[in-house]
């Protein structure tokens, strides 16, 4: 009797054991090892101390790489938001058949490999690429513009690659907004722009925050796109870590900058989360 009346919201913790074990083995353990490694003073082992952190934080080159990586994330996120919000809005406003089409276009990047997508951008942005060829054909330029191996190129390519991460949460947020809100606003005398600014935009904020969070996290860690489009001249954190670990075999320093990167990302994520919590107040009405 008592068993059948059991509260269905409580579960046996043992059921979570396999997942917990996997989590500890493959996530927590490497992280602990990484942390331990970062305190080694010398690649050949030896003492423990803060040497690596002091080296990183005292080195303007390293700080520059960290700064430009975090800043790259901001630029990509802003561009993705500016391009993605209208797409999500269009999706919300379209008839059913057009919605399917828009959704397919949005999801397409997820269905192809990152490497393929990135090489497509190499073709598009290259000296003899589609953009330069078109501009030259129209007669706007004589000599090809440098698009590949520029930060602008990296930002544009990343924005395209991460677009679904921005668009999907915003579509979800927009679809949760009662269509009567827009009608109520217009009948109270507001034009389209005011309705958007005062009602639709604030109510879609939870989706914007979620989309920005995902896009940001994905953009700053996008090793392949960053290195293929950015080329050799531009260095971002993922590549920097890779060089230190693989090429220079300086594992303690690689571990230390990984930890610094991780903490920086966590700080940014917490800020987003706080914003999300503020905006969630609007969401479920």
């Amino acid at each position: 009797m008592a068993a059948t009346l059991r509260d269905v919201t409580t579960y046996d913790l043992k059921l979570a054991a396999p997942l917990a074990a996997g989590f500890i083995l493959f996530f927590v353990t490497p992280l602990v090892i990484l942390l331990a490694l970062s305190f080694q003073t010398d690649p050949q082992g030896g003492h423990y101390g803060l040497t690596q952190y002091v080296a990183f934080l005292g080195d303007s080159f390293s700080l520059g790489v960290l700064g430009s990586t975090l800043w790259l994330g901001v630029k990509v996120t802003v561009l993705t938001l500016l391009l993605g919000y209208p797409v999500a809005w269009l999706h919300q406003r379209s008839p059913a058949w057009a919605r399917g089409l828009i959704m397919l276009l949005v999801l397409l990047p997820l269905l192809t490999s990152v490497v393929v997508r990135t090489f497509a951008w190499v073709v598009i942005l290259g000296r003899q690429g589609i953009v330069n060829a078109t501009l030259a054909w129209i007669g706007l330029i004589d000599t090809p513009l440098k698009l590949l191996y520029t930060e602008g190129g990296v930002v544009v390519a990343l924005a395209q690659v991460q677009m679904p991460l921005m668009v999907l949460p915003i579509i979800t947020a927009l679809s949760r907004i009662d269509p009567n809100f827009a009608d109520a606003s217009s009948v109270l005398g507001a034009g389209h722009w005011r309705t958007f600014r005062k009602v639709i935009l604030p109510l879609s904020l939870p989706g914007i925050v979620a989309g920005c969070l995902l896009t940001y996290a994905a953009a700053i860690t996008a090793f392949i796109t960053q290195s293929l489009i950015g080329g050799g001249q531009m260095l971002f954190m993922p590549m920097y870590i890779y060089q230190q670990a693989s090429t220079l075999q300086n594992w303690p320093f690689a571990a230390a900058i990984s930890i610094v990167f991780l903490v920086s990302v966590l700080v940014v994520v917490s800020i987003f989360n706080a914003l999300g919590r503020l905006s969630r107040g609007y969401a479920n009405a």
Partner: protein, 372 residues
């Protein structure tokens, strides 16, 4: 733009509203079919009809959310056909209220004033005045989610009225409220409507609500206007069989028209007996098959006399319903007839199987329509 006093001379309230031959087509189907309603300034009109009859569609056309396929909407004698919703001076209370969840109650009420460029101080004082009108002056700082259903509805009403609209539209505003609260809010809305003198359209599928609140009721069926009359006329003198059965309950009995003139008719019922009725609707000749509608309170149950020339039957069931007693009687042609009598007059329930005779409590209560 917004006059300070509710009935100031510059107030646009109490405008006439004319729906002139409104038709709305969705593909091949007609949601609204040639509806014409001439509504007086300050009147409260209920749009009553079953689900899907086009009530909301009509409301959306008046508000400007939807452009009608055919016909004209005139407010105060001027056509508003080309105007978008934000320039129509219409107030709406939605069924789910649609209060902006990210704004306080006061911001909600001030929203329309803000959109009209009214300055902050006036916005605040005007919003406060509207909230006082709906007796929520003390709750301006709350968010809509911190309010009960009835309070949210009052806010929605205050928000709609704050911009001083010419026409107020209410789309099933009481549907989400429980019964006691609904009655309170019906009285409240009626009070505010009287006070402001604003022309109001109330959409409902609750006939009691329509009959008790409205000055006139427009009954719709499948996009067509069936009748547009004061509540008592809708109930006592329905224009069609649909109105007769949709508003209130009715017993339908088949028969043959014996004779009729402008004020009355006589029908021989298939179930037995001759009954005096109101003048038949439409062009009916003596000898035509007709349907007679008798409301349960139009009949009384009398002891059987054995006379075959009366409406005789057998009691199937008796139900005491508070102030009334309802009997279900199986009459000669097999139809079950409901009879409702005041309990003061009938203290005892009749046992099933009792043979009885049914008689109209007064002549010419029954309505007669051509047989379907």
């Amino acid at each position: 733009m917004v006059s300070a006093s509710p009935n100031g001379p510059a107030s646009p309230r109490g405008q006439t509203l004319l729906l002139d031959g409104i038709t709305q087509r969705y593909g091949a189907s007609l949601a609204v079919n040639e509806v014409t309603l001439d509504i007086r300034g300050g009147e409260l009109v209920a749009l009553l009809g079953p689900s899907g009859c086009g009530k909301t569609t009509l409301l959306r056309i008046i508000a400007g959310f939807l452009a009608q396929t055919k016909g004209h909407v005139m407010v105060g004698g001027k056509s508003v056909d080309g105007l978008p919703p934000n320039r129509r001076s219409v107030g709406i209370v939605f069924q789910n209220y649609a209060l902006f969840p990210h704004m306080t109650v006061e911001e909600n009420v001030a929203y329309g004033l803000d959109a009209r460029g009214v300055d902050r101080a006036t916005q605040r004082s005007e919003a406060q005045r509207m909230l006082d009108l709906v007796k929520l002056g003390h709750l301006g700082d709350r968010t809509p989610r911190q309010l009960s259903g009835g309070q949210q509805q009052r806010v929605a009403l205050a928000r709609a009225l704050a911009v001083n609209p010419s026409i107020l539209l209410l789309d099933e505003p009481f549907a989400a409220l429980d019964k006691n609260l609904r009655l309170d809010m019906q009285i409240e809305v009626k009070r505010i409507q009287r006070l402001s003198g604003i022309t109001t359209i109330l959409v409902t599928h609750d006939q009691e609500e329509a009959l008790s609140m409205a000055d006139r009721v427009a009954v719709l069926s499948q996009g067509r206007l069936e009748q547009f009359s004061p509540p008592t006329e809708i109930y006592d003198a329905p224009d069609s069989l649909f109105v007769n059965t949709f508003v209130g309950s009715a017993n339908l009995l088949g028969g043959v028209l014996v004779d009729s003139d402008r004020s009355a008719g006589r029908v021989r019922l298939d179930a037995g007996g001759l009954i005096e009725t109101r003048a038949p609707k439409g062009d009916l000749r003596p000898g035509s098959r007709v349907t007679v509608c008798l409301r349960p309170e139009h009949l009384s149950v009398d002891p059987a006399t054995g006379d075959a020339e009366t409406l005789n039957g057998v009691v199937e069931m008796g139900l005491p319903l508070g102030a009334t007693v309802v009997h279900e009687i199986r009459v000669g042609d097999g139809t079950a007839v409901k009879v409702s009598e005041p309990r003061i007059q009938r203290t005892d329930l009749l046992a099933p199987g009792t043979p009885v005779r049914l008689a109209p409590v007064a002549p010419r209560l029954a309505s007669v329509f051509a047989a379907a």
